[in-house]
Amino acid sequence: MARAGRLIVIHRAASAGVVAVATAIVLFSGFDREASGQVPYKAPRTPDGKPDLQGIWRVMNTANVNIQDHSASSAGPAGHAVVVDNELPYLPAALEKKKQNAANWRTADPVSQCYLPGVPRATYMPFPFQIIQTPGHVAIAYEYVHAQRIIYTNTKGHALDVEWWMGDSRGKWEGDTLVVDVTNLSDSTWFDMAGNHHSNELHVVERYTRTGPDHMRYEATIEDPKVFSRPWKMSMLLYRMKEPNAQIFDYACFAFDHNEKGESISLAR
């Protein structure tokens, strides 16, 4: 009996040791702590001491098809909502417009014309993008229609009185999180192929937080008093492309119809 009890004690101690070692591996190997909610990951720093968000990233979700819960369709695979709680607080008229948009998405979605996708949609288009950081700037180069953004982190205030497809972005660091205030957006872009839309009073606050060596949490708070009765939020993970030869190519889809119909515009052919 006594021997058995001692054995149990030893066994327990061994188990505790295994757990401790496993915890240490998780903590010190840079394992993604996003799911476990453990100690926040501390991102490596750029030469000027800011959290380093650089690299080639992309989503692995179907938010471009629909930011809410959705079944598979000809638009794309089924997927979970990236909208927190799956609920979009449309005002009545805006909800009607959403339904019309959804009915005509094949031609009415601005992205179907290869137009700039806007913010936040550029983030969750099914294409990679590269983040570049220098003092005072976080620049993002998107593969989809070679959209570009420069987030200024050393200025106050936005550009005045202009509307841009990709908006005007001013950022600041809150601990390890890059917080980007995006204004000057036009009403020409949609959130997804499902017709979710906004007005030119759209105000987006994005939060980029590294959660591990190869993962980053992306959140966007959406405020648009013309379209929604209250602010709402979307949240998703970004994944680093690990292929050693990963690079941003170009996706100039506005030119595809010419080449594919054999209407070459090249004088060399």
Partner: protein, 314 residues
Amino acid sequence: MKTRILYLTILAAMSASLSPLAAQQPRKKAAVKAAQTVPGAAPKKGAAPVKGAAGPWQPAKLSDGQPDIQGLWGDVLENIASLNVEPGEHLLQIGAPKYPALRMFKGFMVDPPDGVMPHQPWALERRNQAMKEFLAPTPAMMDPQTRGWPNGMPRENYYSSIENGPFQIFQPPGYVVFFYEIHHEFRIVPLDGRPHPGQDIKLWEGDSRGHWEGNTLVIEVMNNDDSTRFDVMGNFHSDQMKVTERWTILDKDSIDYKATIDDPKVYTKPWTLGVKMVRAKPGTEIFEYAGVEGDKAATVTAPAIIKYNETKTK
């Protein structure tokens, strides 16, 4: 800002159908440009030259040892809209439409010394056809940039100008990154000697690999899509083109830019063009240039675009 608007007004008046996007694009918004200043966009102070020491100007160095050329740059006015790389007078003599600006723009060839590109005979014939049509091109001859499509290399560089849309250089460790205002194009140039991707991958801005030789940034551009051109006069290249660029820092506010074109399918020998790049005023920020999306002004001022849109909707 006023200079930008004034210049564009002149250019627009002068050339309603020439490079219409260049003429109409968002400089009309210049008057409402961001009011704030941008301390970070200002050039980093270069190391002051040692008093009494001779020799070239020495730029400040970044943490990875690169000379610091960050900030906004552009071509000077003479080459705006990349009308003609070769001397305008020469083109008029060989049958270019009598377009007033051709007398003004002397081109910017460096080699050969006579400024004439060494076309193969078939290529010269095709170029001449495009040149004759340039004011009212058939769709096949139309300059892709008229449609708001990318300019490709090296044109994206000398199409960019302080007055009409600069480009911004970022230098994170191990890279030189160009963000062009025109067409919201960009180039991410690794400096680690990695190889180009397979040559079956063609890219509108090509694939750029760079290295520093002292104060000269040397970039080799391969994987070039053959849809882009060198100028409005119809000068073109094949998808076999290799571009070798040399960005030589002259002083803190100017860079000598040269691009050597090696394309044995179109030319009999390599040739070189060159322009001077100058730094934009501190506080300048890149605007959005949504050329494909277009705006109403484009269709009002640009017959070529209207024609193109008509062919597209047929």
